[in-house]
């Protein structure tokens, strides 16, 4: 029987791109079973020691939405015309943004949470990322029930094009994961990155038209117009409740860019993990 041979040298992996790509594909396929296990374990242990269980998945977007709804009802927020009842508008926006933000933070916390395992066992690290995505999708599915409940409560009809909303939502997920993976090399070494993410998250949400329609002018108008998340969030909401969206082209462009970024992030991840494992300890 021909045995596989592993060779370890100090040479940079990029010197042999063929081997690098083969390794990526091999590990991705080898990590499916493990990813499923880790994902199931994380979801089980995430909710097993809680009294409210899965309700915790919907509490954060619910609270955020409530704050905006209160501000809006007190006329402290001039949101302009939303087309549908404001609570439905806000819940759709925050849940979509939440998908991106969860995806942004998940890779780093997955690596941080697996420190002990990483420094002691050699396993395909892609499994950690796949498991993180699985967990995000699970939590998102729970949040969808919140969205559905709100839409029903405010009698907002769901359009057949809602199926197409999967495209911009996938774009949000991919963009989030890609950026999140790119944070790993520095974030796994310096805790500053994790600390700053919470701050960045709040700020970013205000620069994204999650709780208000994009303003046409002013600084905020300029920033939201150039924010690559804007078309994804807007398209997702439009497709669910309006039946069409003016953001489809930009959604495709941003989505393609996100996929490219994800592939790049994957390479960076492969290059960085051995060095990080050595420095992280357990």
């Amino acid at each position: 029987m021909q045995l596989t041979t592993a060779v370890y040298t100090p040479d940079p992996q990029l010197r042999r791109p063929g081997r690098l790509v083969r390794g990526m594909i091999r590990d991705l396929s080898a990590s499916r079973e493990l990813a499923w296990r880790i994902c199931a374990r994380n979801i089980a242990s995430q909710y097993r020691q809680t009294a409210l269980g899965y309700v915790w998945a919907v509490i954060p977007p619910l609270m955020t939405s409530l704050v905006f709804i209160l501000l809006n009802s007190a006329n402290l927020l001039r949101t302009g015309e939303t087309g549908i009842p404001y609570p439905a508008y806000v819940v759709l926006g925050t849940v979509s943004f939440g998908l991106f933000f969860d995806a942004l933070t998940a890779p780093l916390s997955a690596v941080g949470g697996a420190r002990g395992m990483l420094s002691k066992i050699n396993f395909p690290h892609e499994a950690l990322m796949l498991a993180a995505v699985g967990q995000i999708l699970f939590n998102f599915a729970v949040k969808v029930t919140l969205v559905a409940a709100v839409l029903v409560a405010f009698r907002v009809p769901v359009q057949p094009t809602a199926v197409l909303a999967a495209i911009p939502l996938a774009g949000l997920l991919i963009a989030g994961v890609a950026l999140g993976v790119l944070l790993i090399p520095v974030g796994a070494l310096f805790q500053d990155v994790v600390q700053s993410l919470a701050v960045v998250g709040t700020g970013l949400m205000f620069l994204t038209p999650a709780a208000y329609p994009p303003p046409r002018e002013g600084l905020l108008g300029f920033l939201t117009a150039w924010n690559p998340l804007t078309p994804l969030i807007m398209a997702a909401r439009d497709l669910i409740v309006l039946g069409s969206s003016t953001y489809m082209t930009t959604t495709i462009v941003v989505g393609a860019a996100a996929i490219t970024l994800l592939l790049l992030a994957w390479v960076v991840f492969r290059l960085a993990m051995p060095i990080l494992i050595e420095r992280m300890g357990s």
């Binding site: 060779v7 940079p12 079973e33 066992i121 050699n122 290059l271 960085a272 420095r279």
Partner: protein, 464 residues
């Protein structure tokens, strides 16, 4: 790499950093270098870095078991982590053929709030096992770990030994070509260790390679063909396990003697710090006693030495060589028919004595300076350190002590000449070195039924 090798390590070095801040910064620098794809020479140390491993080379063939020995922090676990691909070498090259399974820390990835069954599935997946295989192996895993009654119990109520058993049971379900073990056998009770040993032995017989870290030299001798002794990240000795154990024990003992001398006490094998403190206190007491009553003792020792077979003073001598204890003393007043006694101690135990109380008295009268020698042909003591105590008596009306008995010399028996003992047993060297101190020739005979002709004979005479 040659087809016959499963593991080949060539000139491998690895550096670590002492300070966290530097380490993190170096991490970023290394990352940038990795991204730029420029080959680099990591042969220089940066501030606060040190070599955890330096220029380590060895190889392992199928069916071979290699032991990694050395003190804590010598780099043993680093070697295992590098073989498993967890750490990349800074210089050199590592080639590993076949599937590698490392038991570096048992139960990594266990979740305390999930049940044993759930954890088995996760742990097995981490180690690369398929679900169908785990389904099949689950009963055996649980049985091997002896946890039949705790399958649905959350792991947080398991003892550490139970967790280790579960983890070992999972890990050894896989069938690797190269098995890496890091002191995992130190956990669990004796019965479980025994079980693990049998499983490891079965691996070996299937022509797999095993590399394992241990502090137990009995395990090394019993299970390993070869051994690698690491000292401060360098290879101190590499070769057949017997040779390495020999050199290792020698060096350890010499070091302990040197340390004991630096502390001003006689060396006792394997003495703990508390024991040494106790002995030092006793030594002081004795020194004081001698000081207080020097003039009152009729015999006073001036010098004492150990002579080897050729009559040269020595502190070390080969196994079964002739030994002479030579003592210069001064009789302050005329002493009639003195009787000397030389007692040999190891580890506070008296091994034997050469006593004129048995053999008969010396000259009619001794006065002033004189020398007494006691020659013992073919000393039957095994390689260890010994202490020589001298006592002197006088006969007349009863027997009186001429001096306070005291340690006059220390010496060590080395491995040299040990090959005159037929060492055919599996733990010959370790038992000779670490077992009791006297070796006597013997013959074993086995009979069927009530007697008659022996069916087997094992002779252990000295080879002359």
């Amino acid at each position: 790499m040659s087809e016959e090798l499963l593991v080949q390590v060539e000139g491998v070095s690895k550096k670590f950093c002492r300070r966290l801040r530097h380490s993190l910064a170096y991490g970023l620098i290394d990352l940038a270098r990795e991204m730029s794809a420029r080959p680099h020479q990591a042969t220089k140390l940066r501030t606060n870095e040190f070599w955890a491993l330096q220029d380590v080379s060895f190889c392992v063939r199928p069916g071979e078991t290699l032991a990694l020995i050395g003190r804590n922090g010598a780099g043993k676990s680093t070697v295992l982590k590098m073989l498993n691909g967890l750490l990349r070498p800074d210089t050199g090259r590592i080639t590993v053929r076949g599937r590698v399974q490392a038991l570096i820390e048992l139960g990594a990835g266990f979740s305390p709030i999930l049940s044993a069954r759930e954890n088995v599935y996760i742990n097995a997946a981490v180690l690369g096992m398929r679900r169908a295989d785990v389904d099949r192996a689950l009963p055996e895993i649980i049985e091997f770990a002896g946890l039949e009654d705790f399958v649905e119990t959350p792991l947080q109520s398991f003892s550490s030994g139970m967790r280790a058993r579960l983890a070992f049971a999972v890990a050894t379900q896989l069938d690797p070509d190269v098995l890496l073990l890091d002191e995992v056998l130190a956990v669990g009770d004796l019965a479980f260790q025994e079980k693990c040993m049998r499983r490891i032995e079965a691996f070996r017989q299937r022509n797999k390679a095993i590399i394992f870290v241990t502090h137990n030299l009995y395990q090394v001798e019993a299970m390993c063909n070869t051994a690698l002794w690491l000292e401060d990240g360098r290879v101190a000795c590499y070769g057949s396990s017997m040779d390495v154990i020999r050199v290792y024990l020698d060096t350890q003992e010499k070091r302990a003697i040197a340390e004991a001398q630096a502390e001003g006490v006689g060396y006792r094998a394997r003495a703990t710090a508390a024991e040494r403190a106790y002995l030092r206190a006793k030594d002081e007491e004795r020194a004081k006693a001698i000081e207080e009553a020097p003039s009152s003792e009729p015999v006073q020792i001036r010098a004492a030495e150990i002579l080897d077979g050729t009559g040269q003073p020595c502190v070390e001598l080969p196994f079964r060589s002739d030994l002479t204890v030579r003592v210069q003393f001064e009789a302050i007043r005329p002493v009639k028919r003195p009787l000397f006694e030389v007692l040999f101690f190891n580890d506070q135990r008296e091994i034997f004595n050469a006593s004129m109380l048995i053999d008969g008295p010396g000259p009619e009268q001794v006065e002033g300076r004189a020398v007494v020698e006691c020659r013992i042909p073919r000393l039957p003591l095994t390689p260890k350190t010994y202490r020589v105590v001298l006592a002197a008596f006088q006969t007349g009306e009863g027997i009186t002590e001429l001096m306070t008995r005291r340690t006059v010399a220390n010496f060590r028996v080395t491995d040299e000449g040990l090959d005159s003992v037929p060492m055919r047993g599996p733990l010959a060297l370790t038992v000779l070195r670490q077992g009791p101190p006297v070796y006597v020739p013997r013959v074993w005979r086995f009979y069927n039924g009530q007697g008659g002709e022996p069916v087997a004979t094992v002779e252990a005479y000295f080879a002359e």
